[in-house]
């Protein structure tokens, strides 16, 4: 096995046994990036020099007797998470060349653990999109089929993991942006419970929905990364002061006696038949491992998409107001007046999808429309949460697809935003409810990975990872590698 193919867990064992150094590992991954990146285009920025320097530092720390599961592990960070000393662009011309003056909380926790930051991965502009086609720099290609999208918005991270251009990565998930690309790329992606991981330093798309989480080659790696980045942060008032569970410890405890719910409203027309078949087979696997499968109802499922696009865009319209071309970022210097400057900088700095969402959100918040749109959406959001409360009274976790289809072709849906929005219908309700979920591979259709999703209660990350791990260990989908 090549070094770049290692999982975090495997690499950690080799590092502990002094069989490899972090510099060896990092150099191997950088070599892999050089070999395949021009085809995959997972990254916006690769920091080879600083990565090697961090690796050398990690080796010194290990030699001095330190250990941590991530000490010396090369990771990729989605480019909506700020990194001091490494440019952070959010996939936008608006922030081209922007050098953040501080580290996000997750990155400072990773650095403390000794992880090596390889660079910043591609994303739809400001995390708005499902394919990375909305990146202002380039589109990332699905490593399983370079003519197809990797999913999004964390498509760069998912593709980097699938193509072994990193050992593990961080993404962010506002409506499925970790889980949907993980599904499209055949890797594991965890969206933690809202409040579990600090958003401090995550460039906000929709503040009440955003959450940072790991995208890795396997479930156990997600657990290791999650345990490092999770936990209370006094600088994020929405972060929750709860102890981070030992996810890895009980990960192999199995599913015997657990009840897994299947929401009947999720299996609808328009779903690719292979996806449905793969999920049904997966349910059988769990059943054979001792779990009980029950049908549950989520009656407000059909409203999720509307509620999501009202609330997320409303919050985004305010969150993106700070990009005005005055203090940092793209600025049109030819403008004659203040207002012309705002207009020009924002017109040129933002791409079409971002502008579309800012306008949608602005409209939803406008006088005379607020009650009908924003306020009503908030009320329905409460009903959606109650759907989850009721469903999760009857079972321990919910099993759904990550997306109705496998990865589609680049350019296929780019001119049909509504069609594109539909690819997130299985993921966004979880963000509205603020709960946790994990996506893992469960099969292939025409050579493309199929993803399934395990959704759990608030702060039940350890439980859903246990369910995911049981399936993963009973199958071999996670061992497949694309040929590049």
């Amino acid at each position: 096995m090549e070094l770049h193919e290692l999982t975090i867990r495997q690499a950690h064992e080799l590092l502990v046994g002094r069989e490899i150094s972090s510099v060896d590992l990092t150099a191997a991954v950088l070599a892999r990036i050089r070999a395949v990146e021009d085809r995959v285009k997972a990254y916006i920025h690769v920091s080879a020099d600083s990565a090697l320097a961090s690796a050398a530092e990690a080796d010194r720390r290990r030699a001095a007797g330190e250990d941590h599961p991530l000490l010396g592990i090369p990771l990729a960070i989605k480019d909506v998470i700020v990194t001091q000393g490494i440019p952070t662009t959010c996939g936008s011309k608006m922030l081209q060349g922007f050098m953040p003056p501080y580290d996000s909380m997750v990155v400072s926790r990773l650095r403390r653990a000794g992880a090596v930051i390889l660079g910043k991965t591609n994303t739809d502009e400001f995390a708005m999109g499902s394919t990375t086609e909305n990146s202002r720099f380039h589109t990332t290609h699905n490593p399983w089929d370079l003519s197809r999208v990797p999913g999004g918005s964390s498509g760069g991270s998912a593709a980097a993991v699938a193509s072994d251009e990193c050992i593990g990565s961080l993404g962010s998930d506002t409506g499925g942006s970790i889980r949907q690309p993980a599904g499209f790329c055949g890797v594991a992606g965890l969206k933690p419970t809202y409040g579990r991981v600090s958003r401090n330093g995550l460039v906000a798309f929709a503040s009440s929905l955003d959450q940072i989480g790991p995208i890795c080659k396997q479930v156990a790696d997600c657990a290791m990364l999650f345990e490092t980045i999770a936990g209370y942060d006094s600088k994020d008032s929405t972060s929750v002061d709860l102890p981070v569970p030992d996810c890895l410890g009980g990960i192999a405890d199995g599913v015997r006696g657990l009840r897994l719910g299947v929401p009947k409203e999720y299996f609808v027309d328009g779903m690719q038949p292979e996806v449905n078949q793969a999920i049904q087979k997966a349910l059988k696997v769990w059943e054979s491992l001792g779990a009980e499968i029950v049908e549950v109802s989520m009656p407000h499922t059909e409203y999720c998409l509307s509620v999501y696009y009202l609330l997320a865009t409303a919050e985004a319209s305010a969150n993106l107001a700070r990009f005005d071309g005055i203090r940092y970022g793209y600025s049109d210097h030819h403008a004659e007046s203040l207002w012309d400057g705002y207009t020009a900088s924002r017109t040129e700095g933002f791409g079409a999808e971002v502008k579309r969402r800012i306008m949608l959100g602005t409209y939803a918040l406008s006088a005379g429309y607020y009650d009908a749109y924003y306020l009503k959406a908030q009320k329905v959001r409460t009903l959606i949460k109650q759907d989850y409360d009721r469903a999760l009274e009857q079972c321990d976790a919910l099993i759904t697809p990550t997306s109705p289809t496998t990865a589609y072709g680049i350019g296929e849906k780019v001119n049909d935003p509504l069609e594109m929005y539909l690819s997130d219908i299985y993921t966004l309700s979880l963000n509205l409810a603020g709960l946790c979920g994990i996506a893992i591979p469960c099969g292939f259709a025409a050579g493309l990975p199929i993803g399934l999703q395990i959704q759990g209660n608030a702060f039940a990350e350890a439980e859903i990872m246990r369910v995911a791990y049981a399936y993963e260990q009973a199958t071999e989908w996670h061992l497949a590698h694309p040929t590049l």
């Binding site: 922007f98 996000s104 929709a206 700070r322 006088a367």
Partner: protein, 480 residues
């Protein structure tokens, strides 16, 4: 025709805290160089999050309590969206429909009449950065960005410039008593806007409301409101219609000027701030804050007249400024012997105020401490010095910071009360002024003052004037 003016006031007051509203930067504006008290949060950098300053919340609640407000158990922050270079996030974190304090009132006295001004709400928000326009460019100083700011909104209960002035004075007095704000309008720590409308007397419906901004001093508040009322009356008198606009007070030309139309007013698209949890003020927290409510001006004034027995007008003057009130109380406490609080009040409000006024310093920096004033008054009370000398001694204390005893001793200012010494001087004065002495004997008693004055002159004011008068009377009676 007679007209009635209706006025509502909005006052913004910067809150005195160690740190800003949502970040750890120092809340200190007076001595800092521009853009030195900033961080990613108050600069609105990508990815930053606000954290509520508990002290600012408590200061706002305390203010609400002093203004007799209800403190709801549930309050929240909202985003107020608009673009301007002084607003780095493109929205201001403020409070929209659920402020920290609601429905209170403030009692004021306007030209002797007691008036109750309704307080609609007190809410908490962040200040914007400061714009400096110079040499054709605009500069932004973010030191002020994120400074905690409370907004106090009245009901439309005021009817004249005098009402507004009385309300503002009382409000500032309370803010200072609470120690929550300096209340200084000159440096922008307290800012004010007035909504003014005018209607013919007896009319049911309120007139069109005009907002007046740029009121940077108590003086401009009074002048601007008076001007605007007259302006609106003149418009109505000429059969015109008052337009719903925002006006600015022109400090140089003393008039209100059109700033912008309210038609198509800006839509701030308020919505709940998703980065902050709601604020729940439970009974325990509320009680804890209420404990810190100090004695307020009205109560203090009442107590000063009741327990010190001083004149009401003096009590009102002394309690206007908390530091003066404290000074007065400390001086009274330091007085041993028979010095009355009214005497202390007279000296504080008289000579001490004169000296403070002339030197432009406030009472906290006064070189004469309350104990010093008390010992000066003790010297007067015991007859050691007379009132005239005491004024000189006070001047000297104020200038040099030395004690009254020291000054009296060093300068030999002690009052001459010794009868033999005084008789000798009186006799020589009578010798030198035979005319007036004769007039007195002929019954023109008012020349006594002149003769006493002559004795005082010879003794450089140190003679005990009462004793001198008695001796003159005795001597003249004996000589006739």
């Amino acid at each position: 025709m007679e007209y009635v003016a209706t006025i509502g006031m909005e006052v913004h007051a910067q809150i005195l805290t160690q740190t800003k509203m949502f970040c750890g930067c120092p809340n200190e504006l007076t001595s800092a160089a521009p853009n030195t008290h900033t961080c990613p949060v108050c600069l609105g950098m990508p990815g930053v999050l606000p954290v509520i300053n508990r002290v600012a919340v408590e200061a706002t609640v305390l203010t609400g309590m002093a203004l007799n407000c209800t403190i709801p158990s549930f309050s929240k922050f909202d985003r107020k969206n608009y673009h301007y270079p002084d607003l780095p996030k493109g929205y201001q974190i403020s409070q929209y429909d659920l402020p920290l304090c609601t429905s209170g009132h403030l009692d004021v006295t306007v030209e002797g009449d007691a008036r109750r001004i309704g307080i609609r709400r007190v809410h908490l928000e962040e200040d914007t950065a400061r714009l400096v326009h110079q040499g054709g460019v605009s500069l932004v100083d973010f030191n002020r960005s994120g400074v905690p700011l409370m907004e106090i909104v009245t009901e439309a209960d005021l009817h004249s410039a005098e009402d507004a002035y009385a309300y503002l004075s009382k409000l500032r007095q309370i803010l200072r008593y609470l120690g929550v704000s300096t209340g200084n309008m000159e440096d922008g720590a307290m800012r004010c806007e007035a909504n003014i409308s005018v209607r013919p007397e007896g009319a049911e419906v309120l007139g069109t409301k005009v907002e007046v901004k740029n009121l940077n001093s108590f003086r401009s508040v009074r002048m601007a409101i008076a001007y605007e009322i007259e302006r609106q009356i003149a418009v109505l008198e000429q059969g015109g219609r008052v337009q719903q606009v925002t006006m600015g007070w022109d400090e140089t030309n003393h008039r209100t000027l059109f700033q912008r139309s309210k038609e198509g007013a800006e839509d701030y698209r308020y919505f709940p701030e998703p980065d902050l949890p709601p604020i729940e003020v439970d009974e325990e927290w509320r009680a804890g804050i209420r404990c810190r409510l100090p004695e307020l001006p009205d109560e203090k004034e009442e107590r000063f007249t009741q327990s010190y027995g001083i004149r009401e007008a003096d009590a009102a003057l002394l309690t206007q400024d908390l530091q003066v009130a404290n000074y007065f109380e400390a001086a009274c406490a330091a007085c041993e012997g028979p010095t009355s609080p009214q005497t202390v009040a007279n000296w504080v409000l008289g000579d001490l105020y004169r000296l403070l006024g002339a030197s432009g310093s406030d009472i906290q920096a006064c070189p004469v401490r309350p104990e010093g004033l008390a010992s000066l008054l003790a010297l007067v009370e015991s007859g050691k010095i007379n009132g005239t000398t005491a004024k000189d001694v006070l001047n000297e204390m104020f200038a040099s910071g030395r004690s009254a005893e020291e000054i009296v001793k060093n300068k030999g200012l002690a009052q001459i009360s010794d009868e033999d010494t005084l008789t000798e001087i009186v006799l020589s004065v009578l010798d030198q002024n035979p005319g007036p002495a004769q007039q007195y004997r002929e019954g023109k008693l008012q020349v006594l003052g002149f003769l006493v004055g002559q004795v005082m002159r010879q003794t450089r004011g140190q003679a005990n004037a009462q004793a001198v008068a008695e001796i003159i009377k005795t001597e003249l009676a004996r000589q006739s």
